[in-house]
């Protein structure tokens, strides 16, 4: 079995133009970190025609060889990756799941199925090793041809100036300086950029240790693709366990070690594999892919924007992994920032729009921290009384449905709804793409994803329809789509039984305005072209 010796691609270091010519070059956008978030951001910019330079200290994707970090990509992330052009590759390679089972020492307490939603274009979750996503993004960036990834380029110093950001970079050929009109630190939870600037991430440490044990398994009967969560597992000393299937017949087992047991001893390969063996008994063949002990903590910086420098993903915020909120929220950070930065670079919006990035994504991070904190406390009760309450919840959940919502092994990642603000007129939720009968999706019906778009329920009068169609020629464009039949200047999407309109919360005559990141920023009655222009301008901060 060669799964355990998986080789990740290595990328060659090339000296940069700066090094060749011995001068400092000012780039429009420099991204620090070619991880999940940095690559997503670079790809989003490239899809919108903006070149960037990505600096990465390593020469490969992933961390610690074949160790995967994030494994679980939520519907919103899949929708983003559809727009960036790697969604299908992810679904093809990954494991789509919707059934989850919750167990304790007595066996199964209950099961749930998230796939009841027949209208949804994307499954609730796809499990895939993070390095595959990064790999697909690197491929896609090469295809788009606008991004220069500089491998083995380590940022060692950061200077914030009023009109640019400068980085000192170390390479195998020595150090050089690079400048950027705009820079984004996507350099992970220990963010060297953040630390070099002395920004305090307000860390709150926990003592609940876990041991990730990714194992390659052969000889299993073909079984359903389900996620299993033990609140208490008898083969793990009564502690918790997560069991997820990823690509290549590799399983993520995440064993809760707790406070009392010695994490270093428990993470020794023979101890970890003995626990894995209890999960996959003979005759299954198991082999370790990676064993990583970890202890979670939460942190968030005060402002995700510092002049011309932004922080995204783990560099800006970290929380415990319950609910797969880390990677998924970082992907949303990237999407939120990308369209705003492009709007400013293209002269379509003032600088103020970029301030809304922190105003929207920091509350999203605080929301995730609050939610994951409750899950951590359920999984690691802090007192005899808390443990007793959990015992009662589990005992009731086994027999009665009412207690199941009280079992909190993690609330699965859902996109944050931005409250009404200077940037959002109404609603603020993300619109989940809808699967149409012909196999297309609702958002496919627009000529462009990632733009301002309007969905109208029912056609307006022909002269107004012509004026709405003309919005496609605006800068930036607004593309309109009519839910309904007939012919006219605007594209149609049939909705004979009104199911799509109902899902979107529209009654005849109403419309909704989508931002480039698929968040709904306005709902309106009988829109005309001027009101839509005004709302778009409001959303861009043109005031």
């Amino acid at each position: 079995m060669d799964l355990a010796r998986r080789q990740l691609p290595r990328f060659d270091y090339h000296p940069s133009l700066e090094q060749h010519e011995g001068r400092v070059i000012r780039h429009r956008v420099v991204i620090v970190g070619a991880g999940l978030v940095g690559l997503t951001l670079a790809c989003d910019l490239a899809c919108r025609g903006i070149a960037s330079v990505v600096l990465d200290e390593d020469d490969t994707i992933g961390v610690r060889g074949a160790a995967s970090r994030g494994i679980c990509y939520a519907r919103k992330s899949l929708q983003i990756f559809d727009r960036l052009g790697i969604g299908q590759r992810m679904r093809d390679k990954g494991v789509t799941w919707s059934v989850g089972r919750v167990l304790d020492v007595s066996g199964e307490l209950y099961a749930f199925d998230l796939a009841q939603d027949l209208l949804a274009a994307n499954p609730p979750f796809v499990n895939l090793q993070q390095y595959y996503v990064e790999w697909f993004l690197v491929d896609r960036l090469q295809e788009l041809g606008l991004t220069e990834i500089r491998w083995k380029n380590k940022v060692v110093a950061t200077t914030l100036a009023s009109d640019h950001v400068a980085f000192q970079v170390e390479t195998p050929d020595g150090a050089y300086m690079v400048e950027a009109d705009w820079a984004i630190a996507c350099d992970g939870v220990h963010s060297p950029v953040r630390e070099s600037l002395g920004l305090d991430p307000h860390r709150e440490a926990y003592r609940d240790h876990w041991c990730i044990t990714d194992v390659a398994v052969k000889g299993l009967p073909e079984g359903p693709k389900e996620r299993m969560t033990w609140v208490e597992a008898d083969f793990n000393a009564g502690k918790g366990l997560w069991k997820h299937k990823m690509a290549d017949e590799v399983w993520r087992l995440d064993f809760q070690i707790g406070e009392e047991r010695d994490i270093r001893a428990e993470a020794a390969p023979e101890r970890a594999m003995a626990r894995a063996r209890a999960v996959f008994p003979e005759p299954a063949q198991i082999e370790a892919v990676s064993i990583v002990p970890w202890t979670y903590y939460t942190q968030v910086i005060d402002d995700f924007r510092h002049g011309r420098l932004f922080f995204a993903g783990d560099a800006a915020h970290a929380f415990s992994s319950f609910g797969a909120r880390g990677g998924n929220s970082g992907i949303q950070d990237a999407e939120n920032l990308a369209w705003k930065l492009v709007s400013v670079l293209n002269g379509q919006a003032p600088d103020a729009l970029l301030t809304s990035y922190s105003q929207e994504r920091r509350p999203a991070a605080l929301h995730n921290i609050a939610i994951t904190r409750r899950s951590s406390r359920f999984m690691a009760p802090r007192s005899k009384a808390e443990a007793g309450l959990r015992r009662a919840i589990l005992a009731l959940a086994r027999n009665y449905a009412f207690a199941r919502p009280l079992v909190n092994t993690g609330r699965l990642s859902d996109p944050y709804a931005y409250p009404p603000s200077d940037w959002i007129a109404q609603d603020g939720r993300t619109l989940d793409d809808i699967r149409l009968r012909d196999g297309d999706t609702l958002l496919d019906r627009f000529p462009a994803r990632g733009s301002f778009r309007v969905i109208l329920y029912g056609a307006p009068a022909p002269d107004m329809e012509a004026r709405l169609a003309a919005l496609a020629g605006d800068d930036p464009a607004i593309h309109c789509l009519i839910l309904g039949e007939g012919k006219g200047d605007l594209p149609r999407c049939p909705d004979a039984d009104g199911a799509i309109a109902q899902r979107l919360g529209l009654v005849p005559g109403q419309a909704l305005l989508l931002r480039p990141d698929d968040h709904i920023c306005a709902r309106l009655e009988a829109p005309d072209d001027n009101s839509l222009r005004n709302l778009r301008d409001h959303c861009l901060g043109r005031r």
């Binding site: 007793g388 309450l389 015992r391 009662a392 919840i393 005992a395 009731l396 009412f402 207690a403 009280l406």
Partner: protein
């Protein structure tokens, strides 16, 4: 149902006796499980979020006041 501290039980002596008899002969672990389960079952009967929160607040206030 809205939070109330006025009497609403029709047979207070009967439910009190039933509580005592349910707790009789339980060891400490069983007793905790009984009390915690009862709280959760009752909360679900109330269902109204504000009423449940008001009950928790009232009980917490009493516990702290009693200690002082």
């Amino acid at each position: 149902m809205p939070f109330t501290t006025e009497p609403t039980l029709s047979k207070p002596d009967i439910v009190h006796a039933a509580l005592l008899s349910a707790m009789e002969n339980l060891d400490e672990t069983q007793l905790d499980l009984f009390k915690d389960s009862l709280i959760l079952l009752l909360m679900n009967q109330l269902s109204d979020h504000d009423t449940v929160m008001a009950c928790i607040e009232a009980a917490a206030g009493l516990a702290v006041a009693d200690q002082a």
